[in-house]
């Protein structure tokens, strides 16, 4: 199977070895971890193994694999065509030197990573994809997809940048265009019944993630931020029905923990909300630094977090038109920093910080990510008015600033105690 994928197998093995060691240091070292974390460990250990095998098996049955980089690509439609929807690798320093031949050096680590993974032939998800979907969110990604398209065909969805009626109409036309493209790719007609099922499956997954979010409001925190981030990360890779069942089981375990006031950290441990850019596997650097500094993370306000799970598609639609409108409305609620204005994000961060009983917020921007770095200033102002302290961190995937980050984060935690 591996030989058939266009991968650099030696480099891929080396990557997995580093990943395994990193995972051991950051995850397996945790005390009093959940039993349900076994599922997380297993999925992650097989993320470039059994899961790829499953994708290949699906392809052998004639199903198609659609690879994505953004929460704007409507999974409901992918599933309705019986295709597999996966997130592509973008969380590690891989092939950076190659990527810098296609994009400027002052491009964020996430963009360099997905290009680097492709050029260095390291991502089996990318190599398994029958269709890769990009989108016009930030300028960095827009231009990067132009370059990416030269090495692998990339279908681009036009994400509007405002929330006007005209923007909604544009987005609706893009959702319909995606639907037609997926039908063409799979040779399957998306019927109202199939679309309804796609909506139900995706909603169920998001409901499980919402349930996890709610349970994390408890003190002591029942689950570490690292594990919760992993759950969110895995939601982009694993089979959605299996994932939903496993996360609901994990939530059952959390409920029994909360009932006996058991937690991953003692009660009254300073609680922090992470907010900002997405953290793709294996970007666990900041959560690890934070949770090694005497604090516990109680939420992730990001695309690999509540931005992906907060809103559901209205399930009351019966006709194709009604369901498409419901999907369009749901996706137009996403408070990505590429929108202008994007004031709802400031409200959402504040609401989430309060709901999770957070003592403070750490705003994370990837170096060179203009939209989120800009919004850090706005979010700070809004939180200050609410009396919620915020620390703004700008970093990337390299480890050179870990000690400096530790000092800043520890000092921030000291101010909360």
């Amino acid at each position: 199977m591996w030989e058939k994928l266009d991968l650099d197998l030696d480099a891929h093995d080396a990557l997995l070895e580093v990943l395994g060691k990193f995972y051991g240091d950051i995850y397996m070292s945790q005390q009093n971890r959940l039993q349900g974390a076994e599922y997380l460990d297993f999925v992650l250990s097989e993320v470039h193994g059994l899961r790829i095998k499953e994708l290949q098996d699906a392809k052998a049955e004639g199903r198609k694999v659609i690879g994505t980089f953004c929460v704007f690509v409507p999974e409901e439609i992918t599933l309705a065509a019986d295709a597999v929807h996966v997130g592509l690798c973008a969380g590690a320093d891989a092939g950076t030197d190659l990527a810098e031949q296609l994009v400027p050096r002052n491009t964020c680590a996430l963009i360099k990573s997905f290009i680097g993974f492709k050029m260095a032939k390291l991502c089996p998800f990318t190599e398994s994809s029958d269709m890769i979907v990009g989108e016009t969110t930030c300028d960095g990604k827009k231009k990067a997809y132009e370059a990416f398209n030269e090495i692998t065909p990339t279908y681009i969805m036009e994400v509007p940048q405002t929330k006007t009626e005209a923007a909604r109409a544009l987005w609706k036309s893009e959702v319909l265009r995606y639907l037609a493209e997926v039908e063409k790719l799979t040779g399957k007609t998306i019927t109202p019944e199939r679309l309804k099922q796609g909506i139900k499956t995706t909603n169920a997954k998001r409901r499980a993630l919402q349930r996890l979010t709610s349970l994390r409001a408890a003190d002591p925190a029942p689950i570490s931020g690292r594990d919760a981030l992993l759950v969110n990360q895995i939601s982009f890779y694993d089979e959605p029905i299996r994932f939903t069942a496993k996360i609901n089981e994990l939530c059952d375990e959390l409920e029994s923990r909360i009932a006996v006031k058991d937690g991953i950290a003692p009660a009254k441990t300073p609680r922090l909300l992470l907010s900002g850019c997405p953290m793709a596997v294996p970007n666990w650097k900041l959560p690890y630094v934070i949770e090694s500094s005497g604090a516990v993370i109680v939420g992730e306000e990001s695309c690999i977090g509540t931005r992906n799970s907060r809103d559901l598609v209205d399930e009351s639609g019966e006709t194709m038109d009604e369901m498409i409108d419901a999907i369009v409305d749901r996706y137009m609620k996403i408070d990505c920093a590429c929108f202008t204005p994007n004031t709802e994000r400031q409200e959402n961060v504040t609401d989430l910080a309060k709901r999770m009983n957070a003592d403070g917020v750490i705003h994370y921007s990837l170096l060179f990510c203009q939209p989120y770095t800009h919004e850090a200033l706005k979010v700070d102002k809004t939180l200050q008015a609410e009396g919620i302290p915020m620390l703004s961190i700008e970093t990337d995937y390299s480890m050179e600033d870990v000690e400096q980050l530790k000092t800043r984060i520890e000092a921030f935690v000291e101010t909360l105690a």
Partner: protein, 253 residues
């Protein structure tokens, strides 16, 4: 006896206290073997409590101490030390070997802070490096720069680029003292920006080794329009404030 140990990137300071009185204060360079340097400082002392701070604060766990010990960040340590020396302190500026920190205090507590991240631009290391370019000992570099006049604007704060810029200015025939003054002004500009980001209120207490530089002091005082004698406060031993803060934290449990 209670000990505060500030393990910085360039030097390690120790302050020993008894009944909140400093009984012993010592400073050694960090070198490439900070653990041995710490042991040297602790030789003959029998601490009851030790609190570490600074970049190497977690090294204290490897000292094999048989007393109670913990670590706090240098941000907290400098805030505590500065407030102890100057109870009226509203803002603290610490420029050490590789970090610059601006700390806003309210009721003696750290409210907000800023520090440079992965680059040592505009810190003690920058001065040390550029002094080397002029072949002037670091202790005299401030006095040297004060002899300059009509300083050129040095736009780069990156240590390496600033050297390139200084070299070009020398090639243009600029007086070296004036170039040195320009380099000092570049640091002040960056520092004042950082202070303004946390909300600069006077009195400002200036700690860390760079507070020994008279040129930095005089430029800073005029840049922030410090009120004579009360706006900008300099401890007698600015290098020792972090260790003092750590010792006070230990004393207050």
């Amino acid at each position: 006896v209670i000990i505060g140990l500030d393990i910085g990137s360039r030097s390690i300071e120790l302050v020993a206290m008894n009944n909140r009185e400093v009984v012993h204060a010592l400073r050694v360079p960090t070198t490439f073997d900070p653990l041995s340097q710490c042991r040297k400082l602790l030789d003959g002392l029998r601490p009851d409590i030790l609190v570490g701070t600074g970049y190497g604060r977690n090294l204290i766990q490897r000292l094999g101490l048989d007393c109670e010990h913990s670590a706090i960040t240098e941000i907290k340590a400098h805030a505590i030390g500065a407030r102890h020396l100057f109870p009226e302190a509203a803002t603290v500026l610490d420029i050490g070997g590789q970090d610059t920190k601006a700390i806003a205090l309210s009721g003696g507590r750290v409210m907000k802070f800023e520090m440079n991240d992965r680059c040592a631009a505009g810190t003690g290391k920058f001065l040390e490096y550029t002094a080397g370019v002029f072949q002037i000992p670091i202790e005299e570099f401030g006095h040297y720069a004060m002899k300059g006049n009509d300083p050129p604007v040095i736009s780069s704060i990156c240590t390496v680029f600033a050297e390139t810029e200084a070299t070009s200015l020398m090639a243009q025939g600029k007086q070296p003292e004036s170039i040195a003054l320009g380099l000092h002004k570049a640091i002040i500009k960056r520092t004042v920006n950082m202070l303004n980001r946390v909300g600069l209120n006077q009195p400002l207490v200036f700690t860390g080794g760079v507070a020994n530089n008279p040129c930095v002091l005089s430029l800073l005082a005029s840049a922030i329009k410090a009120e004579e004698g009360t706006g900008l406060l300099i401890p007698e031993n600015p290098d020792m404030v972090g260790a003092l803060g750590a010792a006070l934290h230990a004393a207050d449990g």
